[in-house]
Symmetry: C2
Subunit: 420 residues, 2 copies
């Protein structure tokens, strides 16, 4: 018998309770033990819930209960959750969490505190897809050359709809909110922060990198326009919010941004609210993992898989993948040193000489243009859609600054990185 | 320090040696221990190899060496490998194998013998894709409703080429043999046996079913014709050799056969020599795993991940997923009870009254037709391409038998199941 307490019985917590009951037979057969829920912690005892477990409002009733073996943290948030998880570890409980924000900030101090206690977090990245296990255990023989993930279902839903229906960002966001695929305040998703939290967790496992969200390049999808999809279509690209990790020697680029990527790539085929993570290892080559990145039952599937692993009695992996850091420790690459191809959309006056001026600004930064489309805009304006050959982030940023001082530019330029 | 011996140093074995050396830094950091190769076993000591480890021709020098902790079996074949692996287990060695044929026949007796000794076999299914780990550990909270796999790269390469280039089976097979994607004797791959071995391993983990290759429906891809791809194209299907497991109550259908599947499904997008496995769980929904199913380095990636897991000192999972069988044990469904939609290609005399006769034969088995295409054939013949609504395998087999006695049928009918 393994006894668990669940802190936070919202959508995911209720699914954990329900699936543990419904699939009791197969879970017991696989774990070799029965898994019993001792107690759940909620904010409001009066609220109606369709579950039948003892409830309390005090999380410390769970962290301090000598009968509880595993504390399952599903409350979300950072600092309060951090306090509670620390207390559980201090009391020598195993911990299972789905809390990506907690891990984005505190994974290394929690690892330090957990030592050999099981501390699992499969549900924190890409919901029901067992990507943590794949990366940490399945691909452990590999130097990870790159990770490219679609790890935010809200953004992927919006971008897929914009691509397929030629709809505007605002229209699709409103629809996503009606359907429950986007929050009333969607900032955290559409500005890329949610995806960034997940990327940081994967980057620890792949590279042992202790970066925080504020250390890495994060851009959201709010500036993408129908016109960008027209360019993408013309040149065979999809537009996706990608989380990217790329190894260059001892440095790793970590970044989250809208990306143009060839439609023929498997990751470009991940549509709608689904998630996908492509991992390139130096031995295995490319493997990809696809599935639902959110939803109560899918997330609960990952949470329970961690509970079963712990019940099975093994502890196959160090929490963040490494027993001790590599001596040739990897570093985060500075944002300015990123190299990429770039797509730019410029709204300019439609008159002679403008192209020459733009070309000269690019020329000064040694940026060479690969392809260009001109589309008419209203009232004497033109849309210039162009892509560059590979160049450095620092160069493109300087060129963008220079462009912004030009009187012929009628709107802030839009830039999307191209993944090759 | 963990000491291993490798029995069979061919393509995969040599990759294991090479990657353990090349990635020593990261592998040691992840395993927490150095992994040392004590000895390799080969058939022919005189053959030149690009590896620098002590070699012998006697496998028992490895199985009986008190300094060796893990025996890595990469020799292939069934009965000789079985003897050697048994000996390793009797000597209390952990075992890692990539040998699917061995497991297709002997996984339950080896499980019995292994007891609590680590016995891992990630590389036996879908090469570098960590599908065993995903299914056994990542999805352990789920009743598995279905598995649909593309697990033979040779077949997938041939079918993808036939689809894209309108080439014939024989032409593409010859090309695959030139490129090294098909063996000189390709029977084992193109007749579906290789994929069937892998399916049986997954079926044990998902359902605890102890079936052998001869117990399940296995059909190869040799009868597929260009015309079948024309029908597929017309109705939005891809043709893939799928390994299918489907749960129906306490019964499980296990089958390997060419399959028409809607192009919009993720598994239908797996092209060329790549593998993919889609798993549907009752909690998580569909997840899919994609990557290289063969090749020395990709397969070695999986082998080494198992070695690292064992070195890490944990034993997270029982060998075949269950600590003890379910009391509501699952059974293999009889072949005749399979239900599916079916596609048929009939070469018939091109004269009035034939369609009525065919319709009456189907009518007698209560099979209803969903769609039909007629294509001209040479010399007064016609190709009838038709698909049925869902019906039972037994009914379609009776109808096929009845058709074969008709004088208007000019060639054995071709039947392909349709996956919905």
């Amino acid at each position: 018998m393994v006894n668990i307490g669940i802190i936070g019985v919202g959508t995911v917590g209720a699914s954990v309770v329900k699936i543990l009951q419904k699939n009791r037979d197969i879970i017991t057969a696989r774990a070799g033990k029965e898994i019993r829920i001792v107690k759940g912690v909620v904010r409001d005892l009066a609220k109606h819930r369709d579950i039948d477990i003892p409830l309390t409002t005090d999380p410390y009733e769970v962290t301090d209960d000598p009968n509880i073996d595993i504390v399952v943290e599903l409350m979300g948030g950072v600092e309060e959750a951090y306090k509670i998880v620390r207390r559980a570890l201090e009391n020598k409980k195993a911990v299972v969490t789905a809390n990506k924000a907690l891990l984005a900030y505190h994974r290394y101090d929690l690892k330090e505190l957990a030592k050999d206690l099981p501390f699992e977090f499969e549900a924190s990245v890409a919901g029901g897809i067992p990507i943590i296990k794949a990366l940490r255990e399945g691909l452990s023989a590999n130097h990870i050359e790159a990770i490219r993930g679609i790890m935010n279902g809200t953004c992927n839903y919006i971008l897929t709809k914009m691509a397929n229906e030629g709809a505007s960002f605002d229209e699709v966001l409103a629809e996503a909110q009606r359907l429950g695929y986007a929050e009333a305040d969607p900032t955290f998703d559409i500005e890329g922060f949610d995806a960034a939290h997940k990327l940081l967790i994967l980057a620890s496992i792949a590279y042992g990198i202790d970066a925080k969200p504020e250390d890495i390049l994060i851009e959201g999808i709010t500036k993408i326009d129908k016109l960008d999809f027209e360019f993408a279509e013309e040149f065979g690209y999809a537009i996706k919010l990608l989380t990217i990790a790329k190894k260059r020697g001892n440095e790793v680029e970590l970044r989250v941004h809208p990306t143009l990527i060839q439609k023929s790539e498997m990751i470009a085929k991940v549509d709608g609210v689904m998630n996908g993570v492509s991992v390139i290892g130096d031995a295995v080559g490319e493997t990809m993992y696809y599935g639902p990145g959110a939803g109560g039952d899918a997330t609960a599937s990952a949470v329970i898989s961690n509970i079963i692993d712990i019940a099975r009695g093994g502890k196959c992996s160090p929490m963040l993948g490494f027993k001790k850091p590599l001596e040739s420790g990897m570093h985060l690459a500075p944002k300015e040193s990123i190299t990429s191809k770039y797509y730019l959309r410029l709204v300019v006056d439609d008159r002679p000489g403008i192209l020459a001026k733009i070309a000269s600004i690019f020329g000064e930064e040694a940026i060479s243009i690969e392809s260009m489309l001109q589309k008419p805009a209203k009232e004497g304006l033109a849309n210039l859609l162009l892509s560059t050959h590979t160049t450095q982030e620092a160069a493109i940023q300087k060129a963008l600054s220079a462009l912004q001082t030009q009187e012929f530019l009628k709107q802030a330029p839009v830039m999307i990185r191209i993944e090759t």
